[in-house]
């Protein structure tokens, strides 16, 4: 339906986008949400969320975002899943959005596309995806019961996911690119106490090796260049995130790492285009502030439409 004019088009069905959808459609705005896969966002990869207020017993990530989705639908948001946006074009007082399956026009746009895990880009990574290489410890941890695995990256994500793997695996070798681990101290202390946790600091992984499945990784000490082969059957990659903004190059201002720059009202460098959640240039990336930003963006879009 290329001719329908929406008040608000939201790209991304994670917490920020779905919250924006709840607010926008509850305000009576004609709202469309486009999601590249199925709604959930990166939260869907987390089995147990402990810091979502109102859930003292914790909640499964997919359960949480499914509720968000139901609530957005209830208020009338139209949700189209498996629709990847390839192009965004600002028009006179409107924005045109192109997907593989058609184009849509909105008076305003809220970008809530979040981020994806960075890949290592070493030989073997693609070949062994699903055969020992994984980006979701929550999903795949149980397959590594009694096996040796490596976690690449020692930030909060690496240590958190690694901590859950320690419950299944015979050993978990944490490999940090720097000479120290970036994860928060309390988490480091907890992980270091585990008898089956090992640490290799200041190493860079240069290849993932195996036949049909992973059997080892090769890592190099960054100062001495000493090479080591570590026998593992699983490799979990957590070396940081990359904002999903490829389709926005040259459309709105991005910061040097590709995140969208906004003002306090979540407005980007283009009036009528807003950003919310992990895709925004900011320091703290939590579900709670993603939802807060989705709220602000939706209400700012409402006010902007009034002035059109």
């Amino acid at each position: 339906m290329p001719d329908a004019l929406y008040d608000v088009i939201i790209i991304g069905g994670g917490p920020a986008g779905l919250t924006a959808a709840i607010y926008a459609s509850r305000e009576g705005l004609h709202t469309l949400l486009l999601e590249k896969m199925a709604c959930g966002g990166r939260v869907a990869l987390t089995a147990h969320i402990e810091n979502w207020p109102g859930t003292p017993d914790g909640i499964n990530g997919m359960d949480l975002t499914e509720k968000f989705k139901q609530q957005a639908l209830k208020f009338g948001t139209q949700i189209t899943e498996f629709a990847e946006v390839t192009k965004v074009e600002p028009l006179e007082k409107a924005v045109q959005i192109t997907t593989d399956n058609g184009s849509y026009t909105g008076k305003t746009l809220i970008v809530a596309t979040g981020s994806v895990l960075k890949k290592l880009n070493v030989p073997g990574e693609d070949k062994f995806y699903g055969k020992g290489v994984s980006y979701c410890a929550t999903c795949d941890g149980p397959f590594y019961k009694g096996k040796d695995v490596a976690v690449i990256g020692c930030g909060d994500s690496g240590l958190q996911e690694g901590e859950s793997l320690l419950g299944f695996a015979k050993s978990v070798t944490f490999i940090a690119y720097r000479s120290f681990m970036k994860a928060r101290q309390s988490l480091q202390e907890r992980v270091k106490k585990k008898p089956n946790a090992k640490f290799l600091l200041n190493y860079i992984v240069t290849s993932i090796n195996g036949n049909k499945t992973v059997t080892s990784i090769t890592a190099k000490e960054r100062q001495t260049n000493e090479e080591r082969i570590i026998d593992v059957q699983g490799v979990f990659v957590y070396i940081g995130f990359m904002a999903n903004t490829n389709f926005l190059q040259g459309v709105v201002d991005l910061d040097p790492v590709g995140c969208i720059v906004t003002n306090d009202d979540m407005q980007t460098s283009v009036p009528g285009i807003y950003a919310a959640g992990d895709v925004r240039s900011k320091k703290i990336r939590q579900i709670t502030n993603a939802c807060g930003e989705g709220t602000i963006a939706a209400l700012a879009a409402r006010d902007y439409i009034k002035e059109l």
């Binding site: 020992g132 994984s134 979701c136 397959f143």
Partner: protein, 112 residues
Amino acid sequence: MEEVKPINIGDDQFETEVLKAEVPVLVDFWAPWCGPCRMAGPVLDKIAEEYEGKVKVCKVNVEDQRQVAIDNGIMSIPTLNFYKNGELVDQMTGVTPNFESDIKKKIESHLD
């Protein structure tokens, strides 16, 4: 007519339902704790309906049926295994933006 749904199978049904099936079989290895698996679910429901009689869609919940997953080389979920005449002929891991068309392309390549 009743809606065609993927068939949930247990360890002991794998041979009869999958390996001895008369049509190609798509087996979805999944678990309730896995978000991407749940994203894949509705797409597979659609595939089961669209390919009724031509392709059989089965689901193995690896939470209860760990052994059959391990026996079939599963190390990540969701993984879709394609079986034809009792042989594993293709495999797909993860959910992609073009998930439905990716699955269909694989299916078509294995239909006679």
